[in-house]
Symmetry: C2
Subunit: 134 residues, 2 copies
């Protein structure tokens, strides 16, 4: 579990860690069922207080990325599909709007943005679609 922290970043430690775990899952380097290191191990490896690790785990569970089981550990959750659709759609729209307006003010155009998204998508391990290798 290579997790690195940027102490200068304005984003809180517990969020930096959560984001990195999410990325590992999205890239398929962590797969559903995989066990995460223990709270105390993560705390030691990242030189962070166990309570801060706990915040990370709470965040990850809230986002359905992991499942926590007292006594046994934390595990990567199975892929999510069954969330209320309108809320999800709205969140996606907000995320896309944020990317686009920020990129706009960085001076990029539509082509730049689309290509950046496509590059990132290439690294993601999406589950196979129905009727793939027909």
């Amino acid at each position: 579990m290579l997790l690195r922290l940027d102490p200068l970043s304005p984003t809180p430690v517990f969020e930096q860690l959560a984001r990195q775990v999410k990325t590992l899952v999205a890239k398929g380097l962590l797969r559903p069922g995989d066990k995460l290191p223990s709270v105390r191990d993560l705390a030691r490896d990242t030189a962070v207080n166990p309570n801060t690790i706990l915040r990370t785990l709470e965040l990850l569970e809230r986002d359905h990325v992991i499942i926590r089981r007292q006594g046994s550990g934390c595990f990567v959750a199975p892929r999510t599909t069954d969330l209320s659709t309108p809320a999800r759609k709205s969140q996606l729209t907000t995320l896309a709007a944020h990317l686009v307006t920020e990129a706009f003010h960085l001076g990029f155009d539509a082509t730049d943005i689309r290509s950046a998204v496509n590059s990132t998508l290439d690294e993601i391990d999406f589950p196979k679609r129905k009727r793939s290798t027909s």
Copy 2:
């Protein structure tokens, strides 16, 4: 200047306001050279302290969205192009990665993500490209 605040949102007021101004500019509802309402007017309209408005303006100037001129007011800046390219590219990559991993964990696939980005792009007022109406 219709600016609305969500008092329940975890994102700070000064950032909510900055984001809304950025969106107005990106959509072409505010154009380069346009004058923003005065600090005190904005403070009154949004029921926010003038110092908080000031934070918003500082943020917007840092991101090259506006130019502040003491005594005369704040104006929408001309479109940015001359920022050091490698840093910009890196920021774009980070933004795209954030969108994609969050969307992934919301259960969306590559097609969903691409179409959400395209929908947002349709609302943006990009400057004309060279040799357009030849």
